[in-house]
Subunit: 267 residues, 2 copies
């Protein structure tokens, strides 16, 4: 999916919502266990119900890998089920040397047809460049995450005066463009978004941590939005576990719709 | 596998060799394609042939994921095939927030029975602590990798005067002990091993990049060895692709044996 297509979808749906499919076998409604693939059945119903309100879906690979090859199969089926006009993100946080990164690109872009993959930058450009060879695909690089221990390394000051996450942004932005690189920036750091926008005015930011984790949609939008919107706000648990009963998909749709309606005011 | 058991195996086999199963469907001998699961068949023969010379096997998840759920199945079968007295390493380089790391721990330690998993430290302690809850399991943290772009971030000087990889070692070593944490240190930086040994005299180091990537076994051993050996030297391509013919397993064994014989001199 190109940047033009993504921006068109955002304007058409008046939404920059990404639904996070962190589908946990221990949290899905019990009635789904009578189906052949409860994880896929859950995802399918969540997707059907929330599709009018979302422009992206993010599959967190860990939740599928916890179930082994069976979980990996549910992930493949979910990726295949998502329609073409949706940005399909593999939240895989991979990061390795070049020849191994080639294999991850095959896994997520070729084998499963994802449009985007999240990448950990610790090992440097080798972890990123192989993904950038794919036309119309996106590499979403971890910059400043929303978890408590992001202060351990990401926020550490370098001898040059910058925090590590800023060096990550500056260094990796040169490897591609705002049409094939995005950054993960946690919503709990809304005031830091202004700084990040100075570094990369044009790039899209994938923002987790709004809602359940405490970030405010209006604050994040205020500091993070650019002229192409430039934001994808992810919500996982708050949407997909809105209800633990048979009405889970309708309840998920209600939460997604409320977020989309708030977003439409800001666009 | 506990530290005592690992050290016993090293002394028994007089080896600190780790065989890297970076099994690439495009590189395995063509005659294996008549079998039901060529990747597993290749691994099985490599394991059978090299087992007398190795104390650890490292499965690089990317190569399996490139084939989707079918590849994930070959990985599960390979992990199950490895005998109990071998340290089974998932070279997964995962790294995420706490609740997601829990899921990765389930995937690698519970579902597949690996003894160890490699972890990327960018997001801090949250990416590590959940793995440490498992008795007898190991978390192998990326410190200084052997790839060219390790200079992008790992080797950058912090305001405190230390390089980032040293802060990673100092910070994360406090989260566990030398009985449940190891570090990845690339062999191309043999002289830096002495520095690292000052920081962590007791920890095991997993060292890739000997052989094909240019590091010297004698140099690495000189700077990296401690009283419990404290080293696992990984070799992947040099062993598993020693021959591309029907004799691939015997040729792999010859290379592994030569490495083990050199190692036995240093122990």
């Amino acid at each position: 999916m190109t940047r033009t297509q993504l921006v068109e979808e955002i304007n058409r749906k008046r939404s920059y919502l990404c639904v996070g499919l962190d589908t946990d076998i221990d949290k899905i409604p019990p009635h789904l266990f009578s189906t052949k693939d409860p994880i896929f059945e859950f995802n399918k119903q969540i997707i059907d119900a929330t599709l009018p309100y979302a422009v992206a879906y993010k599959i967190n690979t860990a939740f599928y890998e916890a179930l082994g090859s069976r979980g990996w199969e549910s992930m493949e089926k979910t990726a295949a089920y998502l329609p073409k006009d949706i940005l399909k993100i593999a939240d895989a946080k991979r990061g390795d040397i070049g020849n191994t990164t080639d294999m991850y690109a095959k896994a997520f872009f070729e084998h499963m047809g994802f449009d985007a993959v999240t990448v950990a930058p610790y090992m440097g450009a080798d972890s990123i460049v192989p993904f950038l060879k794919y036309e119309g695909k996106w590499t979403i690089i971890l910059a400043l995450t929303s978890n408590f221990s992001s202060s351990d390394f990401e926020q550490k000051k370098l001898a040059s005066g910058n925090e590590l996450y800023k060096l990550v942004i500056e260094t990796t932005a040169k490897l591609g463009s705002s049409s094939n690189i995005m950054y993960v920036v946690g919503a709990t750091k809304a005031e830091e978004l202004a700084d990040i926008r100075n570094l990369i005015p044009d790039h899209f930011l994938l923002i987790p941590g709004v809602g359940a984790q405490g970030g405010s949609l209006s604050e994040v939008t205020k500091y993070g939005k650019n002229s192409d919107c430039g934001l994808l706000i992810n919500s996982s648990r708050q949407i997909i576990y809105a209800s633990s009963n048979e009405d889970f998909a309708q309840e998920a749709a209600k939460v997604a719709k409320a977020m989309q309606m708030e977003m439409s005011l800001y666009l």
